[in-house]
Amino acid sequence: MRSFATVAIGVALATACLPAASGQPPPSGTGDQAAACMDCHAGSEKSKRGDIEIDPARYGASTHGAIGCTGCHMEGFSEYPHKATRQEAPDCTLCHGGDSSQPYDRARIESDVKQSIHARLLRRLEAGRSDPVFKCTNCHYPHYFLPVRKMASIEVAVRIGNETCMACHARPDELEGTDQERKGRAPRRQAVEEHRSVPAAGAVRFARVPQEYAWKQLASKHVWIPMWELHTKAARCVECHTPGKEETIHKILPSAQAQKDCVACHSRDSLLLHKLYRHIAKEEWDKGGIVNAIIFNNAYLIGATKFAWLDWLSVRLFGLALAAVFVHSAGRVVAKNRRR
């Protein structure tokens, strides 16, 4: 539950950082307003169209649940048919730009996204345009967004993180779940394609995702990694597709530079600690005699998760045995010489 104070601050913040559009005051979007929109958009009788349905529960639980719909869809939606479209909705950076405060260094995220392979491919595609950007909302569905540390579990974070990429790198029909569930896994390819047709500023004119990026083909691109499905359940695409142990998951590299070294994850200083698990306090890392207990709580990962006491005991027993062998053989030599 969010307190009224948070709601008020949220809306004030949202309103403050949004540019006052075309002179009109942006409609305040809390409570009744959201309810007014949800009348049609919660998937009621009035709207059978799956692609405009928004699950009120997931929306309410999301980061922006406290901001009303009109915090982002500022004008043109108060009556139906609407006068505005989704394209006018602001990207995340509009409200969050330049803010480097932890835990999310947003300035860093923004520059990482700009340096990512997607933005670079896009720039090439869009040569001549001033600032074509691969938008945040191409990956993040704004209505259900949650940062990793607020997700229910690491498992959920992995699933949502991977679905983020799979939304484009797989054919939608190959994803599991109902239409409504699939919709939460933004952005749908259709959204990307729609962006192409809209020559608005900042619109993503992205090439149609080629078929060979479909899920199965994607699996075939990763044959060198054993048990691919097991890996995609315990690690995210961004773990491998962003640079080494850098604490970034947004600087997606050309595939030739992706992580191929198993030991990067399968070792004590696993890169997962710097990416997937980075929000978990360092005190939790080793606990109860288990190396990397935070990973261990979710998955057993050979090389990274270990029973420290077992190694301790075994190495010492082995050392003891070798010492005994040494003493024993020395004794035999001495005794033999003496007997002569």
Partner: protein, 232 residues
Amino acid sequence: MNNQGLYLYPLWLRIWHWLNAVLFVALLITGASMHFAQPGAPQLDFRTARLVHNTAGILLTLFYLIFLGGNVFGKNGRFYKLEAGDWTPGLVRQLRHYLLGIFRGEPHPYPHSAERKFNPLQKLSYAAVMYIAFPALALTGWVLFFPERLPERINFMTGTGIPGTAVFALFHSAIGYVLSLFMALHIYLGTTGETPFTLFRAMLTGYYNGRHAAGHGAPAAAPPASVPSSRV
């Protein structure tokens, strides 16, 4: 018996023994190099290690099944059958020999013969290794071969439980440690023959040319304390 010594180990058995040895060492090295994987460490490449470990594990299981079949259907099982007197005085006498007698140059208490290939210590430790430890190691290894089929969490006393893989990995590595320890001692005890090389040579050529107790009253000789798998 001929002038080369007592022919103890037929060719197939020696091949079987040394293949086992090579596979076990390969498993030990690759297992350790995955367990202690570190970037930049002088280790086997992780993928190679995994491949070798899996292959060696499968082959070793196969060899073990041959051994088991031989023991159940063949005559070899009798060497492993425990008898009255194996623990006391057998084990006690054998241990006493390694701790005391060997320094005094005393003869081995259980000299080698075609009917009794193992001394009590060998019999007990080989039986434990071949009938308990190795099967457990192989079984946990095979389970770890299919991590995606394992329960995600296994609940013991704790609330959230621990990953299914971890339970088997714990036993697998613990038994692996124990067997490596066994192997180290096994190799060392292999030097306790007439000369440090007598028993190794026997395991290579098949001929045991130390002193033995084959029928006549020759002084007792050291049974090859090595090679658990040599007696099929």
